[in-house]
């Protein structure tokens, strides 16, 4: 299949899922009104009248949530694909190898410190601090797992997963410790955040999230060729004259940046980073020149869908989106394990 066609199909899928998601909720807004209001935002159909109430609900409540879902989904999808590339293994998932828990530990620390020192996280600066903190936590966790799991230039899968368990356990224990020592106000903030959902989305948060997601989205696909060659082994990729060290460094920086910021704004949404690249490879093949951009689109699509399910199933209450992705993702993870156990656990 031609790349252009793949991106067009996925892009349309993302757009219509987003429109559908925008129309859903306590106040039902017909999809054609959603499209019309969106069109008016980009200066089309200026003279057509739209329901003002619809416009307000869309602009203030639903659009931030859907856009955040798109950004977080794209971030998790592309990071999952890139991290799997440097680990040379389709099981390397940000949640599984400790990246998300590293991010969440730092986020909790910052929330606790913020509540103690400043008056909550209500301002943009606070969100940036949270995003940078989570980025640092994610980065440290990735580096620790990567260095431990490397054996003779190749990451060893068993060691990688065990190191992931250790990092998860340590980060979990420390997160627990911070939670235990927190006062009422801190606890309230931490719990609200730990539950993890797209529910807290505001335009301010999106403003903070955008650079953390857009920069990796633009830069990661430029490393696709080297990531392909990683499949041969680091030494072999080096023998092909490719900038192995540089790409490894940048993949860690960029994907932890995207995952860290996503965790900071939405909590841990597990299995998207695993599920999405796997689906993409199944449908479009394993060439990273295709897998990276397609994973970003597919991630945005899946997360928007999951958010819709989370809101729909027990409406008017909503389920945490992490619950939905874990429910959908775990069977897929097990399926990959069973189907490919011979070839991916070496």
């Amino acid at each position: 299949m031609k790349n252009g066609l793949i991106y067009a199909i996925l892009g349309l899928g993302v757009f219509f899922t987003a429109a559908l998601s925008l129309s859903m909720g306590a106040m039902k807004i017909p999809v054609q009104d959603v499209l019309l209001i969106l069109a008016k935002k980009v200066w089309l159909f200026k003279n057509t009248a739209v329901d003002e109430q619809f416009d307000t609900v869309l602009t203030i409540v639903r659009m931030p949530r859907v856009i955040m879902g798109l950004l977080v989904g794209a971030a998790l999808g592309i990071s999952g694909a890139a991290i799997q590339g440097i680990f040379r293994n389709p099981l390397a998932e940000p949640g599984l190898i400790g990246i998300s828990s590293g991010a969440s530990l730092f986020a909790v620390l910052i929330i606790a410190a913020e509540t103690a020192l400043l008056a909550g996280l209500s301002n943009l600066l606070g969100y940036y601090l949270l995003a940078f903190g989570s980025f640092a936590g994610a980065g440290i966790a990735t580096l620790v797992v990567y260095q431990i799991s490397r054996n003779d230039g190749r990451p060893n899968v068993a060691t990688m997963l065990l190191a992931g368990i250790a990092v998860n356990a340590l980060a979990g224990a420390l997160t627990g410790l911070v939670t235990y020592m927190a006062n009422d106000q801190q606890l309230r903030n931490i719990t609200f955040w730990l539950l993890g959902s797209l529910g807290g989305a505001t335009w301010q948060i999106i403003l903070c999230l955008i650079p953390f997601v857009i920069i990796p989205l633009v830069l990661l696909p430029t490393m696709a060729k080297t990531l392909n060659a990683f499949a041969l082994g680091e030494t072999q990729a080096q023998q092909l004259g490719l900038p192995v060290g540089r790409v490894k460094r940048w993949v860690v920086i960029l994907s932890t940046m995207a995952v860290g910021a996503s965790v900071a704004v939405s909590g841990i949404i597990s299995f998207v980073g695993l599920l999405v690249p796997h689906m993409v490879r199944l449908i479009f093949g394993v060439d990273n020149r295709r897998v990276l951009p397609a994973s970003a689109l597919m991630g945005a699509l899946i997360l928007t869908l999951a958010d819709m399910i989370a809101r729909k199933v027990v409406a008017p209450v909503e389920l945490p989106i992490g619950v939905i992705t874990a429910l959908l993702g775990t069977p897929v993870f097990l399926y990959i394990l069973i189907k490919d156990k011979k070839k991916i656990t070496r």
């Binding site: 040379r88 389709p90 899968v157 041969l232 072999q236 080096q238 092909l240 004259g241 490879r281």
Partner: protein, 266 residues
């Protein structure tokens, strides 16, 4: 031309390669023989520029090996390793295409695609092109890697091809095919340096053989000059008879039966 001058390589306290010098000319197949731990692989890492010599110098086409950038070097030399484990579901064709990565930035040119077709034909991998690499047999996978390595340097004159135990664990047909291909490439003007374990294969295909022991060069010369009972005993500490194959006039090595100590003392 590949020139190795007084090269010594130390890793920590251990000296793995001691004061080795030799030359490989375009058109030549040189085989490195030696017991396990003799320093063959270390020497290969030096030749591939993965490691730097502690003392001495290696020059390729008149330029010091370590002064090449990784990219320049990728255009001049290729390495076939013993074993490559791949976990992602690439097609055989994708793997061969990786060999051309140093030659194009984003999309392969028509010239690159031609070379890919040509090397796949020559290595007998054309029919595997659209098959998943993961589902090929060990021998087929190794052939695909050979195609990849050839694609990398196919259009480079006097390129250096390093083969690190390329046929270990492979069946006899693949061994013959791979090494005759190596010999043919040498005729084309390549320099081929191979580590082999099978002395008979070395005798058949090598223009020159270098025998290593304890990191030192013990013998270096044509198979006829250096392959004999004494040299084999010196290097491998194994007794063997050496004959001449009446059909090819090449050396035939037959290890002697060892009567185990335990049996003689009973």
């Amino acid at each position: 031309m590949l020139t190795v001058e007084n090269v010594t390589y130390k890793a920590g306290k251990h000296t793995l390669v001691k004061d080795i010098s030799f030359m490989v000319h375009p058109g030549e197949v040189m085989v490195i023989l030696g017991a396990n731990g003799a320093g063959k692989s270390s020497l290969m890492r030096l030749l591939s520029a993965e490691k730097k010599p502690s003392v001495g110098s290696i020059t390729l086409s008149g330029k010091v090996l370590n002064s090449y950038t990784a990219k320049e070097l990728a255009l001049k030399r290729a390495i076939l390793n013993q074993q490559n484990i791949i976990n992602l579901d690439f097609l055989a064709m994708d793997i061969v295409q990786m060999g051309r990565y140093p030659h194009y930035s984003n999309k392969p040119a028509a010239h690159d695609l031609d070379i890919i077709t040509e090397v796949m034909a020559i290595t007998g991998t054309t029919h595997m092109a659209d098959r998943s690499f993961l589902w090929l047999s060990g021998g087929e996978q190794q052939r695909v890697h050979l195609a990849r390595v050839l694609a990398q340097i196919w259009d480079t004159p006097e390129a250096l091809l390093l083969l690190d135990e390329p046929v270990s664990g492979m069946d006899i047909l693949y061994q013959q095919q791979t090494l005759s291909l190596a010999a043919m490439l040498a005729k084309k003007g390549f320099m081929v340096v191979a580590i082999l374990h099978d002395i008979n294969l070395a005798a058949q295909y090598a223009d020159n053989i270098m025998m290593l022991k304890n990191g030192r060069k013990w013998y270096h010369g044509s198979p006829a000059e250096i392959l004999n009972t004494k040299s084999i005993y010196d290097v491998f500490e194994a007794e063997a008879d050496v004959f001449t194959n009446p059909n090819t006039l090449k050396q035939l090595i037959m290890p002697k039966v060892m009567i185990h100590q335990a049996q003689t003392t009973v």
